[in-house]
Amino acid sequence: MRRADLVPILTVLLVIVAVWYLGAIRMNATWERDQAARAGTEVTWSQLIPLTLTQDRPVLPAPHQVAVGLWEGVAGQAVTSRRSLVWHAWVTLSATLAGFAIGTAAGILLAVGIVHSRSMDQSVMPWAVASQTVPILAIAPMVIVVMASAGVTGLLPKAIIAAWLSFFPVLVGMVKGLRTPDAMQMDLMRSWSAGRRQVLARLRLPSSLPYLFASLKVAIAAALVGTIVAELPSGATAGLGARLLSGSYYGQTVQIWSALFMAAILAGLLVALIGLVERRVLARMGLAA
């Protein structure tokens, strides 16, 4: 992001907030009017607007209500409390990171295998590509239930779904990355009589790093989505997905929106973190643009 973009971005954000306020007033006004009609009174617009922005269970909470909900969830509770958003975010984050690590490791290993074995390439790659078109998240509840009946609960089932989702971007990106060295570079390695392992360590892996980081950003976002969805149908009581579900059961819209923004912040932080590591690593390798 460049500094010159700051003004346009802030303008667009301001417009979004303004539209949000108008939407909140419009969507919440119905309920206030019904209340007034039931009480046999009339409400004027000047009375209506503050009322619509301070409801307990609004149809659409106003931005400041969400901000307050988020602030109370983050700073207003002890971190260990079950009402603390930090605690729920940590539950989600730990499963996300565990799954991300498993998925990334598996993706890199399989990519190395695919690049070195033509039979593996022809066997696995078509299925890996086809599996991208399958809505894998649909099996999330099943994995949870199956694992629970096998006695595995807690972090692991969620991590498996997160791993499954982060696996394919890494696999596809790494296969592409490990194949970037061109014939000239491969010939040079051969002229030094480098073995396969040396070609992998000295040429293929370093030149695949830009691709790896690009896929890691996609993968960690996918892992987070996977974990959140995995928390939905499992009867889980902890995690951002569980907050979403309990909020929707009890009509606690502010709770839903706070959990949603917490998830958004988490996703933004994770992607930014990988971007930071990427810039550091590529700069040290002399690859940075």
């Binding site: 992001m1 010159a4 973009d5 346009p8 971005i9 802030l10 303008t11 667009v12 954000l13 969507m27 149809v59 033509r118 039979s119 390439d121 022809q122 066997s123 696995v124 078509p126 299925w127 086809a130 991208q132 078109t133 399958v134 809505p135 894998i136 998240l137 649909a138 099996i139 509840p141 099943m142 239930v145 199956v146 009946s149 096998a150 950003k217 976002a221 987070l224 989505v225 959140i228 969805v229 939905l232 149908p233 951002l240 997905g241 979403l244 579900l245 909020g247 929707s248 009509g251 819209t253 839903i256 929106w257 959990a259 949603l260 998830a263 958004a264 996703a267 933004g268 992607v271």
Partner: protein
């Protein structure tokens, strides 16, 4: 010794594939992939039977196929409810809205610079979390699922379409200007066609997102039909073969949806280098 035939099938399939992969023709490549898939399914069936794995944990492929055949009408109702009404409607509306928005903000560099970073950021967010809110707003039927899908597919398509509209180079635009082409003509004849490869990239990414959005939204409330509803209730009744049959439907629908968009892409962007043989 019950593991011997399983290992035998595995090694056999592997050996055939190693032998076949040497030819590296179109037919042999297809055959290798098919043999790999068939080996996996055979191994799955053999492992489930040999070790008597309970159906609640992992049903055998034959049980899934039987459930698929027996529940045809249920699966069809769910398919229509979730895929056709929810995912497809939402995808079309979302894609249309994103394309129009991209064309609208294309004339304003200010809006582009403001919207693009936000669009990129939003495209990475767990948008599917918006499902409970939209289910509250639009009710339990397919309209709320379509709304979730609209929100999920909007930003990836928007970002791709805006990038695509910028994809013409100065020389091409100058040529249009030298012919005194008005904005509409240069949009229609030059920039929209040039944007098509980017647009289809976005459209292909979002086919899977659309199915995910429609299915996940049903976990938050649905009428008594739909794939998400069926999966969650069948899991509750431990009717795992039916769950897997739904997954097969989802997988087939996803592949078909993607294949249709890819085929359309081939028709529309036949001139693009990536389509050359």
């Amino acid at each position: 010794m019950s593991a011997v035939p399983i290992i035998g099938v595995w090694l056999g399939g592997w050996a055939v594939n190693i032998w076949l992969s040497r030819f590296d023709t179109r037919a042999s490549r297809t055959l290798v992939a098919v043999i790999f898939g068939a080996t996996i399914i055979t191994l799955w069936e053999m492992i489930v039977r040999t070790y008597a794995i309970p159906t609640v944990i992992l049903p055998a492929p034959s049980q899934i196929a039987a459930s698929f055949a027996a529940n045809g009408s249920i699966l069809w109702t769910d398919f229509v409810q979730t895929i056709v009404k929810g995912a497809l409607t939402g995808w079309l509306i979302g894609a249309g809205a994103a394309i129009l928005t991209a064309i609208a903000i294309d004339r304003s560099p200010f809006l582009q610079r403001g919207l693009l970073p936000i669009g990129n950021f939003v495209a990475a967010l767990p948008i599917v979390g918006i499902a409970p809110i939209l289910v509250m707003w639009f009710g339990f039927d397919w309209q709320s699922k379509a709304a979730v899908v609209v929100v999920m597919v909007f930003f990836p398509i928007l970002v791709n379409m805006v990038a695509g509209l910028r994809a013409t180079d100065a020389m091409q635009r100058d040529l249009m200007a030298s012919w005194a082409a008005p904005y509409g003509a240069s949009l229609w004849k030059l920039r929209l066609p040039a944007a098509m490869p980017f647009l289809f990239n976005g459209l292909k990414i979002t086919t899977t997102l659309a199915l995910i959005g429609a299915i996940v939204a049903e976990f938050f409330g649905s009428p008594t039909r739909g794939m998400g509803f069926r999966i969650s209730t069948a899991v509750g009744r431990l009717d795992l073969p039916l769950v897997w049959a739904e997954i097969v439907v989802a997988a087939l629908a996803g592949t078909l949806f993607y294949g249709l968009v890819a085929a359309l892409e081939k028709k529309v962007t036949f001139w693009h280098p990536s389509q050359r043989r």
